[in-house]
Each structure stands twice: as C-alpha cells, then as structure tokens.
Amino acid sequence: MSSSSDGPLTAATAHGGHDIPSWGGGSLPYAVPSKKLGMWLFIVSDAITFSAVIFAYGYLRLAAAAWPRPFGTPSIANATVMTFVLLSSSVAMVLAVRASSLGKVSGAVGWLVATALGGVVFDILHIREWLGLIGEGVRPFHNPWGTPMFGAAFFTMTGLHMLHVTIGVVYLLVIAVGFGRRKFSAADVEVSGLYWHFVDLVWMFIFPLVYLLSAKTA
C-alpha cells in the first residue's frame, strides 16, 4: 500500500482504488484500506471498554448515598488547561495528516512531534494532579471526603485514559520516525491520527463526567 498513498491521500483509493499494488483480487469493496478499517474496529472495541468503565462509574455513583465534589477552581482550571492542550494536539495531528498527504515529510514529522508533545504535557499536568490528590490522602480505597469509591473511580477512569495517551505518544513518535525515514506512508500517519483523535474524544467524556460533575458547589 505504500506506493499509492504518498500522493494526495485517499484520492486514489476513494474512487474505486484501482491502483492497489499488492493485491490483484479487485478493488476494495468499501474503499477502506485494511489498516484504516482495522484501526476503526480497534477504536470500536476500545470505546466499548471505556463505556463499560464509565457505566460502572455511573452505576456506583447513582447508587451511592453521597459522592464527593472536591474539585475547586484550581483543579477545574488545571483540567481545563489539560483539555485545551489535548484539543490543540488534535489540531496538530490534523496538520500532520495534511502535511503527510501533501508529501511534506519534515512538516509532517514536525506536527507529529508537536502532537506527541501535547500528549506529554497532558500527562505531566495529569500526573502532577494525581500527586496532589494523593498528597491530600486520596487512595483507591480511601479519601478524606467519605465514599471510598470516589478514589477508585477517579484513578481507574483517568488512569485508563492516561495509559492510552502514553501509548499514543509512543505510537506517534514511532510513526514520526518511520515517516521521516520513508518507512511509513501517509496512510499510516492518518491511521495514527484516528487513534489520537479517539483518545482525545474519550477525554471529552471523562472531563465532564469526572471533573465537572464533581466540581465544588458554592
């Protein structure tokens, strides 16, 4: 697939895909290259895993007599900055995909690194916040405000997401290096973008569900 996709992305494949070099069995029925479809399917299953965890959180939070609302303005501000960083990194990802499809190798690599950098900043802000909460005495089994499940839900949901961001950073850097050395194609950059946007989208659920719903009320 590598030879066809250095040109303008999907222009060849979207309209019948007659130039797939490695496969003589005819055109791709849905004009979705295998790697992209594979990533979409992975995203479907991963979204369901997140949904199950979020379902568990909702199930237990609704059943609880009280749920702590410990996040004051500094915490919400911090989480908002994290959201902003992550969303900005998605913009960088879009630019990376665009640059790669136009064949601008150094531009694509630069934007990929910028995207990964956004992920790193997000992780750093997140870990700082975790350490702050741990300092306040929040544990998976205990916290200063009662309802021990608060800590369990918080660390599980944000931890699972942080793991995804971290994996994404590594993934993006691998793609950046590989694309720079022409080992990976623009299609590979686009597939990594799918993953990154998905991780970003998950955060858009976690941010309101975990932070805003637990914001300190005056």
């Binding site: 594979g38 479907v44 998976p140």
Partner: protein, 589 residues
C-alpha cells in the same frame, strides 16, 4: 499497535521456528489454535470426569490427585472446595479455550482466507500475536492447578463477592483467582485482535467476483461471530480489569459495605456484586453465540455438500444469523432473573430471549429443508452435522423454559440449566467442531481420516451425550441444585442412581473421544492421501492442492463466477459447479 509494516510475504519461510512456531501463515495459526483447543478439551474432559466421579463416589481415591494438590485432595480424595476448583477450571477451559477458540480462531483462521480467495489474513503479525496471547492466557489458567491453594472456587462466571475478596474467602481465592482474572483479560485481548483481523479480512480481501452474497455461509458465520467478539470481549476486559483492581488495589467496584467473610468484616464499601453480573453477562450472552454461530455456518455448509443440494434459503439464513447476533446483545438479563432485579426488567429481558428462538427455529427448519429430498452421503462429517441439528434443537427447547422468569425462578441453579447449556452450547458446538474436523482434515493435513473409526466415534458420542445430559433436565425438574459437591444424607438421595448413570455414560463417552484422538493423529501420518476435492464441494479451498501451498493459490488470483452452493444439476458428469468455473451453468434451485 502492531499494524504497521505488515507486508504479505510471498515466499514461505524456512526454518522450524518461523514455519511452525512464530508463523505468520494463517493456516499454521489456525492449526495452532486447533491443537490448543484439542489440548484444552481433553484436559477439561478429564476434569469433568473427576467432577462426575466425586458426585457419585465422594470418597474414592483418585490416583495422582493427592500429589497434584495435597491440600485440595488429600490422599486423592476430592474435598468439597477442590470439587469447585475443578468445576471452575473445567468451565473456564471449555467456554473460553475450546468453544471460543476452535470454531472461530481455529477453523476460521484456516479456512476463511482460502474460502474468500485471499492469500492470508489482513494482519498476519497481529494474527500471530493473537494466538500467542491466547496461549499465554491458557498457561496462566492451567498454572492455577499447580499453585499452592489450587484453582479458584468461584466458577467460570467468577461472581463477586467470592471472587473479589481474596484468599480469606476460601482455597484458590488468592493466587488462583488472580491468575484466573489475568488469564481471562489476556484471552479478551487475543480475541479482540483476532476479531478485528477477521472482519477486516472479510471486508477487504475477498477475491474478484466474491460478493458478500456469494460467500460460503461459514464465512458469514465467522464474520458475524467476529463482530460479536469485538463488541462483547471489550466489556469483559473492562470487568476483568475492575476485578483485578478490587482484588489487588483495594477498590470496591464489586464489593458492598458490611461484608462478613469467614467472620471478618471487610473494609470495603460502595460497590455492587450486581455490577459484575451486568458486565459479565453483557459479554456472557453474546459469548453463547460466539460459540455456536460458527457451528451454524459449518453445519449449513456441510449439509448442503453432503445432500448434493443448494442450501435452502441462503439469504434467510444470513438474515437470521444477523438477527441472532443483534438480539444476543439484548438478553443478558435472563441470566439474572434471580439476582433481585425488578420483575419488570425480567420481563423486558424475557421477551427478546423468546424472540431469539424465531430465527433459531427458522435456521433449524432450513437445515431440514436442505437435507429433504437430497442425495444424502452419510460420511462421518454428515452424521455429525445431522447430530448437531438434533442436539441443538433438543438443547434449545430447554431454553424456552428458562427464558420465562416464572419458570426460571424454579429452574435457576438446578441441573436443568446444566443440561440445557451443555446440550445447546457445549455439545452442539463440539459437534460442529467434529463436523469441521472430518470435513477439512483432508485439506489441512493432506490425508483422509478413517471413516469406520469416525462412525464408531459418532454413534458412541451421539448416544452418550443424550445419556449424560437428558437426565440432567429431569433431575433439574426434581429440584436438584447444581454446584453441590455431594448429596450424602440429603433428600436428593433417591436421585443418586440417575447421577450414577450419567457418570458412567460420561466415562464411556469421554473414553470414546480417544478413538477420535487416535483417528486424528493416526490419519495425519498413515491415512490415505487426500485428493484436491474429496467431497466434490464447490468452494475455493477445494480448488487448491491438499494441503494448500504457502500462499494458498500458488501465485494465481482466483476469480469467482458462482454462488457457493450450486449442487444437483448434472453437467459433464458432475453434479456440482465450482465457484471458480467460468463455464459452468448456474444451478436452478
């Protein structure tokens, strides 16, 4: 992800490790899955023997068991707790490593790419990883037999609080249950990677002319099963992660407050054991169809081949399989009628459960219609296919009782349930595997299996499974509870002769499986050489040599001109038209 840089290799690897161990070839990986399932099924079967023996002869000394588990079976006498341990491993092995593995990942990996005219799966490296992750999962599960406390006692469903509170709850609930949870989490990952590979392969790699509606029904079944796996294992994975956290990080997702375990108050609060049941059965019910739908595919396929007739209602079967797949996600609550859920919810889950019987019945009738009026060829494979229809219908009838909350209140947790799911999920799926083995063996190993041994194997197995599982329905109706290790000094005592009968039937039927095992390995080396198309079948795997070359089609790209089941009309002395035959006339069906 390991999706990058996967090129189709066009030359076969040389060297033992790349060829047989870390192979990227879907045919080798299919066989690896198949043998993993064979190993698991025989281990699981021996465990079920021990369970059956303990039920009727609770004080018997089992040779070697005392050495394996001095605590669980001192002197070889199985303790009640160890009975539950054996039951857990039997169930987990059979459901995950046999019923989920062989029909889909085994036969599917082997036959799907060839049947749709592809050289390999879409992601060969991912395919190899799926197998090895599954293999690790099996190692983790089997290792529970060798840890100090033995395997967990919480059953294959691992209901909390028992599964979540740790070693205080009983033998095997420490390390054993941890290994179980890790094993299942790994298994989920392997299944998810396999599922996305199957779907991508089916969508993207079909050869020219292989439209969706020309695919063999086996491929439809594998596709639908892969979709079910993709959507359901993701939930079980999340549940396993939460269980592992509950056990090791002190969280309380599945643990309520005020829990007394062996007299000690647990420091947990805020969780719910019902949450596990919801997450588990949201996976668990589609799982039933993950086990059986590949069997539907194989049976539809095989009945047509050996009846020399096109499949009756191809489109209807596809529609029914899709309907079954969809409905399977709406019925998980029927496993929880007695968990304290609202009767209205019970009613809500009961309705789609009963609706599922409609597509299942239509498919069963279409199988009979396919056979009706055909020129039947009674090969062993065909007999197992007919046996599948029999056991599936018999087992399925019990499901209509269990689907109704009012009846389930009585039948829940009795041997009726055990008989039902063994018949409809276990035995039927295993008959599907037997049919698949006798059908594809010539292609997989290039030799024919022995038909005489096959028929002996079939008749003992067919009669045997009815002798084992039909009485379970009756003693269940009498109220005999499942998961009790013994019924000594109990009002159930008058039913013990029935148990004895079932145990003897299980020992004989199990012993007959060694005929199969012998036939399998003997034929692999000593069977007569298989021709290219021994069954006079039409699909693509029978256009290539037995066994096929490394890239399946020897560098050629097959082109498909026909539906998958054009049997019956005689042209040039043949009563079938190969899918790749450009000159053949389409059969009038």
């Amino acid at each position: 992800m390991a999706m990058e840089a996967q090129q189709h290799q066009h030359t076969a690897p040389t060297g033992f490790i790349r060829k047989y161990i870390f192979s990227l070839d879907h045919k080798v990986i299919g066989k690896q899955y198949y043998f993993l399932a064979i190993a698991s099924v025989f281990l699981g079967m021996v465990l079920s023997w021990l369970v059956r023996i303990h039920l009727v002869w609770p004080n018997v000394h089992v040779w070697g068991l005392g050495a394996l588990s001095p605590a669980g079976a001192p002197g070889g006498v199985i303790s009640p707790e160890y009975y539950l341990s054996l039951l857990t491993i039997h169930g987990t092995l059979m459901v995950f490593f046999v019923l989920t593995t062989a029909p889909q990942a085994g036969f599917g990996n082997y036959a799907l790419p060839i049947q749709i005219g592809a050289e390999d799966m879409a992601f060969p490296t991912l395919n190899m990883l799926s197998f090895w992750v599954t293999f690790l999962a099996l190692c983790a599960l089997v290792s529970t037999l060798f840890v100090e406390d033995g395997p967990p006692i919480s059953g294959w469903t691992a209901y909390p609080p028992l599964s979540a509170v740790g070693s205080l709850a009983g033998p095997g609930q420490g390390m054993g249950q941890n290994l179980w949870a890790v094993s299942i989490a790994l298994f989920c990952i392997g299944s998810l990677l396999g599922a996305l590979n199957f779907i991508t392969t089916t969508v993207d790699l079909r050869c020219k002319g292989m439209t969706l509606m020309r695919m063999p029904l086996t491929c439809w079944a594998w596709l639908i099963t892969a979709i079910l796996s993709l959507l359901s294992f993701a939930v079980l994975f999340a549940a396993c992660v939460l269980l592992i956290l509950d056990r090791n990080a002190g969280t309380s997702f599945f643990l309520p407050s005020g829990l007394l375990v062996n007299g000690q108050l647990q420091n947990h609060s805020g969780g719910s054991p019902l949450l596990w049941q919801h997450l588990f059965w949201f996976f668990g019910h589609p799982e039933v169809y993950i086990a059986i739908v590949p069997g539907f595919g194989v049976i539809s396929h095989v009945l047509s081949v050996f009846s020399r007739k096109p499949v009756l209602g191809y489109k209807v079967i596809v529609t029914c399989l899709l309907a079954i797949g969809f409905l399977s996600f709406t019925v998980w609550g029927h496993h929880m009628f007695l968990s304290g859920m609202s009767p209205y919810s019970g009613f809500l889950f009961s309705i789609p459960t009963l609706i599922i019987t409609i597509p299942a019945t239509i498919v069963s009738l279409l199988w009979l219609g396919t056979v009706y009026g055909g020129k039947l060829r009674f090969t062993t494979c065909m007999m197992f296919a007919l046996g599948f229809v029999s056991v599936f219908v018999t087992g399925g009838l019990g499901g209509m009782f269990l689907a109704q909350p009012s009846l389930d209140i009585f039948l829940h947790g009795t041997y009726f349930v055990v008989g039902h799911f063994h018949m409809v999920m276990g035995v039927a799926a295993i008959f599907g595997m037997f049919a698949g083995t006798y059908f594809w063996f010539p292609k997989m190993f290039g030799r024919m299996m022995n038909e005489r041994l096959g028929k002996i194997h079939f008749w003992i197995t067919f009669i045997g499974v009815y002798c084992i599982f039909m009485p379970m329905h009756f003693i269940g109706l009498e109220g005999m509870p499942r998961r009790y290790s013994s019924f000594v000094n109990d009002l159930m005592q008058p039913l013990m002769p029935v148990h004895k009968f079932m145990t003897i039937a299980a020992l004989i039927t199990g012993a007959a499986q060694f005929i199969f095992l012998f036939n399998l390995f003997w034929s692999m080396y000593k069977g007569p050489k298989a021709p290219e198309n021994p069954w006079e079948s039409t699909t693509l795997e029978w256009t290539v040599p037995s066994p096929p070359p490394f890239d399946n089609f020897g560098g050629k790209h097959p082109v498909v001109y026909h539906d998958a089941y054009e049997y019956g009309d005689v042209h040039n002395g043949k009563d079938y038209v190969m899918q790749t035959d450009p000159a053949g006339q389409p059969a009038k069906s």
